[in-house]
């Protein structure tokens, strides 16, 4: 039994270390998913979270400015002003009316500062709402297709 307890102690140390590491990694990278309507109702402390928001790009709202791209996301009648400040060029699929997923944080003025933007043309996928996106390869990401940017770099 002595061997067994030694093994258990060793296992305990390993698992405790891994749990601690996992916790650190979790706090560093957790990202909340919110809908646009949820954001307005968030309690103050949650406003500093890193978050992901999706919506449709309002037609005519895309403005290319120096060092950033501003646009407005719409979802169920709610709007969110977004400033994209990332380095990568926006994906080609990012157009008026496209479905977009932005990742970043809210700034104190209530607009959203996005570091990443993923987008899909809505038209291509509306035709078949009940199936996977056309040609999503098995074993590959849904959200990588169409946009060369992805969480992998963050």
């Amino acid at each position: 039994m002595k061997t067994r307890s030694k093994f258990l102690v060793g296992s305990g140390i390993i698992i405790a270390t891994l749990l601690a590491l996992a916790y650190v990694g979790y706090t560093q990278s957790k990202t909340y998913y919110h809908t646009i309507s949820e954001i307005s109702a968030l309690p103050a402390p949650s406003l500093h979270q890193r978050m992901r928001v999706s919506g449709n790009v309002r037609a005519g709202s895309i403005a290319h400015l120096d060092g950033r791209v501003d646009f407005v996301l719409e979802e169920q009648g709610k709007n969110l002003a977004v400033s994209y400040v990332g380095r990568d060029p926006l994906p080609d699929t990012f157009k008026d009316g496209a479905q977009a997923l932005v990742e970043g944080r809210l700034n104190p003025q209530g607009s959203f500062v996005a570091e990443q933007v993923q987008a899909k043309c809505a038209s291509k996928y509306e035709a078949a709402p009940n199936s996977a996106p056309a040609g999503t390869p098995p074993g590959q990401s849904m959200n990588q297709s169409g946009a060369p940017i992805d969480g992998g770099k963050s």
Partner: protein, 691 residues
């Protein structure tokens, strides 16, 4: 023709149902003829699904756009190679493809064992048929690939619409690797069904001994090898096609393929404990159950979009079916284990912490920890939404923090394990075996440190890699020296002889070495650099030792796509080294633009150049260059991995000369120490090897 395909599928479903119900009836009534017909029905599924697959391929090659699936995933101008691969480009086809691969495995498993194991095979047949019923249900009633466009008109008559042109194959898939990656990965996913079926069958039938492990050993290795290759090809595809400079992003779908690989790896190791020492029986049975369930989960994550559903790009009703199936599988496994748990009593206890057993235990413990962490991280958005109503995802930092130390510890065990004896290793033997490989590793680390190599994990990885490589070389050397001195051959011939006498052991070492290569390649990513710049003709960009000179931009087009192409000259130390042509292709059928990465790959580094698009402000082209050290080692490691697995699958050379009594009776392990070997040699399978 669509009727033909759907009819074949329906018959396949009925055959599977017969194999299942008839099989159970055969077991209960003990009527051999019934059992035999059920097993035959199980084999017939293969033929019927093959007909359905052939029929769908026929539609692709004849450009029949009246079929929804064909019109959504192909077009006339698509090259034949991709028309063929379009079979698995979407949901319905992928699931059909799954069923087909499963039916191939099931056919071979039943066919090769049709005259053996009469106590076991009925249960195997029933289990395989059960899994087939699930997938064929999806194929027939939930996501049929033979759906015809059109519908009922005003008078209630069916009319068929035929589109003049399909919407084309997703351009991301128009890449040669995409033709082989899904079949590989799916062969891995489906392949684990065979060991699962045998394990469950052995448990249900209380089949004596460790025979199910011997029977499925090769099947497991084949599935594992496919899974490994599938993962690596997927990583290579992501690297070469997606154009973000990396190959692994801890994306849910990537993780899904990784999970069964982890438990499969744990299983390959822990079965040795059961074979040699009669330990870990419960553990092994559960490992193989869990591996199979993770394969199903992986297929579900890939196909249902449960995790990335904030996107709503891939929402699908199919997830519920998978959850239901997983629940049924879990309950069946739980019930089978509970009812027969006394059959799984361990023969032995752990004797010492410094033993082969204990190294396997730690190996399994941390592999399972890795599996759990990855699973947890992948499902976290779903879990957190259930518990807190807040959907939270975790990113690469979470996964890296946990898996990198695990990987280093595993690498350490890879070196240590083979040096430890079963039961107990004396300190003396330990010192003798460890001293110089570990010394070599530390020396390599010290030299690297002196040259300014300060990153913590890469340094550890370097030390461990050298250590493991030296232990592997030492193992080959020790064994070969004995053979060489006895047979009077040279050392190289002796290495060959040694390997062929115990292919499993030495093939295993080759696979270990492959893992070292892969780890080195991954560690290289700690030194990645990248730079992005707007460039016009004549502009330059400097990355590492390279200068990229932009010469011009031009346009290329054919009837599949229009392409905008950059011509870049790569200079190194002022001398022109080569040209790279990154492109952006606009695919006509799907109206989608994709980047075509240009990579100059060498064993030391990849120069990876992407034409990232045009800057929104200036409309000038943006070039993104990456310098990724050692990436090639990963792909090379993959090749070595396949070779090593192939070696381990080969029969032992001497074994052919030994008459094997009928009924696999010679599978009992024979323990022998290799003469002259300092460490008690590992157990040699089958009589005759080494002596």
């Amino acid at each position: 023709m669509d009727i033909f395909g759907s009819f074949a599928l329906l018959l396949a479903f009925l055959a599977a149902v017969y194999a299942f119900v008839g099989g159970i009836a055969g077991i209960l009534t003990r009527r051999a003829l019934l059992t035999k017909s059920a097993l035959n029905a199980g084999m017939a599924v293969f033929g019927l699904v093959t007909l359905a697959v052939g029929s769908l391929e026929y539609f692709f090659f004849t450009d029949n756009f009246s079929l929804a699936y064909v019109s959504a995933h192909s077009n006339t101008a698509l090259p034949p190679f991709y028309k063929f691969a379009a079979l698995w480009a979407g949901q319905e086809g992928s699931l059909l493809f799954w069923s087909w691969l499963l039916s191939i495995y099931a056919f071979w498993a039943l066919f090769l064992n049709r005259k053996k194991h009469p106590e076991l095979m009925p249960y195997v047949g029933v289990t395989l048929a059960g899994v087939q019923i699930f997938f064929l249900t999806l194929n027939n009633f939930v996501a049929t690939p033979f759906k015809v466009l059109g519908g009922l008109d005003a008078s209630g008559a069916m009319h068929v619409a035929r589109l003049s042109e399909g919407s084309g194959l997703n351009p991301l898939l128009q890449y040669p690797e995409m033709v082989i990656h899904p079949p590989m990965l799916y062969s891995g996913y489906t392949g684990f069904t065979v060991p699962f079926a045998f394990a469950l069958a052995a448990l249900l039938g209380r089949y004596p001994g460790e025979k199910w492990i011997h029977i499925t050993r090769r099947w497991t290795m084949v599935a594992w090898c496919f899974q490994s290759v599938g993962i690596l090809l997927g990583a290579h595809w992501a690297y070469a096609v997606l154009g973000w400079g990396g190959y692994w992003a801890w994306d849910p779908v990537e993780n899904a393929s990784f999970l069964p690989w982890i438990t499969g790896t744990a299983f390959l190791h822990s079965v040795m404990m059961q074979e040699k020492r009669g330990m870990m029986k419960v553990w092994n049975v559960w490992l193989v159950f869990v591996t199979f369930m993770l394969c199903i989960l992986g297929t579900m994550l890939t196909r249902s979009g449960v995790v990335s559903s904030v996107h709503a790009f891939a929402e699908s009703s199919i997830g519920g079916w998978f959850v239901g199936f997983l629940a049924v599988v879990f309950l069946v496994c739980l019930a089978a284990w509970w009812k027969n748990r006394d059959y799984l009593r361990s023969d032995n206890q752990l004797d010492s912490l410094v033993s082969r057993e204990s190294s396997f235990l730690f190996n399994n413990l941390i592999l399972l920890a890795a599996c759990f962490a990855v699973l947890w991280g992948t499902l976290f958005p779903v879990l957190s939404e259930w518990v807190t109503n807040n959907k939270i995802s975790v990113g690469p930092p979470f996964f890296n923090k946990v898996t990198v130390p695990i990987a280093m510890f595993l690498l350490f065990l890879t070196g240590v394990g083979p040096l430890l004896a079963w039961r107990k290793t004396s300190l003396d033997a330990l010192q003798r075996n460890f001293a110089w490989p570990l010394g070599g590793g530390v020396l390599a680390g010290a030299v690297a440190f002196a040259f300014g190599f300060r990153e913590f994990y890469p340094l550890i990885c370097l030390i461990m890699s050298v250590f493991v490589t030296l232990t592997i070389l030492a193992e080959f050397y020790r064994g070969a020296r004995v053979i060489a001195s006895r047979d009077g051959t040279n050392l190289l011939t002796a290495v060959g002889e040694l390997t062929m006498r115990n292919t499993r052991r030495y093939g295993g070492y080759v696979v270990h070495f492959a893992m070292v290569l892969i780890f080195i390649g991954i560690a290289g990513s700690a030194f990645n650099q990248d730079i992005q710049k707007e460039m016009g003709p004549g502009d330059t960009l400097v990355i590492g030792k390279y200068t990229i000179l932009c010469q011009n931009f031009d346009q290329v087009s054919n009837n599949n796509y229009q392409s905008e192409r950059a011509t870049l000259e790569i200079l190194r130390n002022g001398r022109s080294e080569m040209m790279l042509y990154p492109e952006r292709r606009f695919f006509l059928a799907s109206q989608v633009t994709e980047t075509m990465v240009a990579v100059q790959s060498s064993p030391l580094r990849d120069l990876y150049v992407v034409y990232a698009g045009r800057s929104p402000e200036t409309n000038r082209p943006v070039i993104h260059a990456y310098l990724n050290p050692l990436v090639k080692w990963i792909w090379f490691g993959g090749i070595v991995l396949v070779l090593g697995t192939g070696l381990a699958l080969m029969p032992n050379r001497r074994a052919a000369l030994v008459l094997r009594p009928a009924g696999e009776a010679s599978w009992g392990a024979v323990t022998q120490g290799a003469p002259g070997s300092p460490a008690p040699s590992p157990v040699v399978r089958r009589s005759g090897a080494h002596d």
